[in-house]
Symmetry: C2
Subunit: 286 residues, 2 copies
């Protein structure tokens, strides 16, 4: 996709707001000649091979968010990473398969040529005020500014797009001998450059927790997310209140075995509101 | 669908094995004249209104399992409950959208007339032997036989299809005054009549944990699962080793708010193998 042929896009700042944030560039979708959308991988969010999965999740969610038929805010998003995504252009098809009075269900598919590379389902809803309770405790960590920023990982460009400040469970030093270790992480993180939090950035952040197998075994292992489910617990207005402040994330695994492990993450605003929790199943080798 | 017109179905016991288990009857799918499958809701798994969601999840998984193109065992299943399913016939369309060397991705849809009632994605894989570790502890409960079986719920037929023995968090007595209470459950459960565990029965069991809002508030509240994701941690052979023994399940919530809450469950075999974990987001009112 050529920059000059791109159509207007709600996820892109309007005229006068200055240069677009790299995330908004990465998730940009333009109408193609048919009923689909065209996107393009972004070098700014490159992974070791192909794009960072979080930005693909964000792009697929964006396809529903920018649709004129969209109802309410996202409540659930499941993204399945079906095959490698080559650097370059891709097509996204998003379809509201069912719209109820207050909820809406989406099918979303990302393809390159004839190959389906990712699929997603999303549930949107008009959220109402109800009785509410958070059943897990905010970890109440020291302020982000009190913790040193972690270095980005070499050859993993997307890690430069996040300020990460680890209270626990940063990426191990793979030059050290392999050993059994704690696989949990707790960290402050936000976009770099800072960007006001919204559903697309939160969807990406939910996939920004390194594969737990790296931490658990203190060694690099081929691994990749196969399926990622995120539940959003707040509406757009509550998210917007976070502004560009860091959010606090915790991540851990329950089981590694037979080539797949799961990991679960919670993402909190700085004031202790649970914004989302997210679950994924990850392929690993050996 | 008329009984006499049903085709053969792998999920149905062969001749000589006696009467089919009610679960196998409920999830039965027969080829229709086109490329789709036809199923029928089962009174044996009726909910207060419509069918028990767990059996719908099981039916959708079955559509992929019985497909001749299916590769390996299920690893991840996400089912979205898009709208009410009326008692009667439904159509299921299942399509392998991507088949790799060792993984396969499915789109599955359940419709009545023109209305999509449920959608699902599933990931299947040929599972390999790898390094393995379970990071959470088996609760090591007293043997199922030492715990009294809970009564089925009035007007909720599917609860008669499970032997449930609660160590904690059984259904509260709604005739008692409303009060804040613990929302976690721990129980032994198995099919009634007993049935050898497999992926379809495990998929249904993962949805057999009552909505946490009932327990948390000790009152009946309109509630229904909107999206359900299950990760399977074992292969078919390991599941089969469980036979018809009870499995041990634990369930809890993280957050209730703005009309939706999440709940998470783990399901263990009697010998302490983590078989699956499952996450869902549930609509509730007031």
């Amino acid at each position: 996709m050529n920059e000059s042929t791109k159509g207007p896009n709600p996820a892109q700042p309007g005229p006068g707001s200055g240069e677009a944030h790299p995330l908004d560039v990465a998730i940009r979708l333009a109408a193609d000649d048919g009923s689909g959308l065209l996107g393009h991988t972004s070098p700014a969010y490159g992974n070791m091979i192909g794009p960072f999965g979080g930005v693909i999740a964000s792009t697929l969610l964006n396809a529903a968010l920018i649709d004129a038929a969209r109802l309410g805010d996202p409540v659930a998003l499941t993204v399945n990473f079906a095959g490698p995504i080559a650097d370059g252009q891709f097509r996204v098809d998003a379809r509201a398969v069912r719209t109820n009075r207050s909820t809406q269900h989406w099918w979303i598919e990302l393809a390159q040529g004839d190959a389906v590379c990712a699929t997603a389902t999303a549930v949107f809803a008009r959220r109402r005020h109800t009785w509410a309770s958070t059943e897990i405790g905010f970890p109440d960590p020291p302020h982000a500014a009190q913790i040193e920023r972690a270095k980005a990982l070499p050859r993993v460009e997307w890690t430069r797009r996040y300020e990460m400040r680890f209270l626990a469970g940063s990426m191990p030093d793979f030059s050290q001998p392999e050993r059994d270790a704690d696989h949990t992480s707790a960290l402050w993180l936000r976009d770099d450059p800072p960007r006001a939090l919204d559903f697309v950035s939160l969807a990406a952040i939910c996939d920004a927790f390194f594969p737990r197998i790296f931490l658990r075994r203190s060694k690099w292992t081929p691994a990749g997310t196969v399926s990622l489910t995120t539940y959003f617990h707040v509406d757009a207005q509550t998210l917007a209140a976070n502004g560009s402040e860091s959010v606090f994330g915790t991540a851990r695994a329950q089981h590694f075995g037979r080539g797949f492990f799961d990991q679960t993450a919670e993402v909190w605003s700085a004031d202790g509101t649970l914004l989302a929790n997210s679950h994924q199943i990850v392929y690993y080798k050996e």
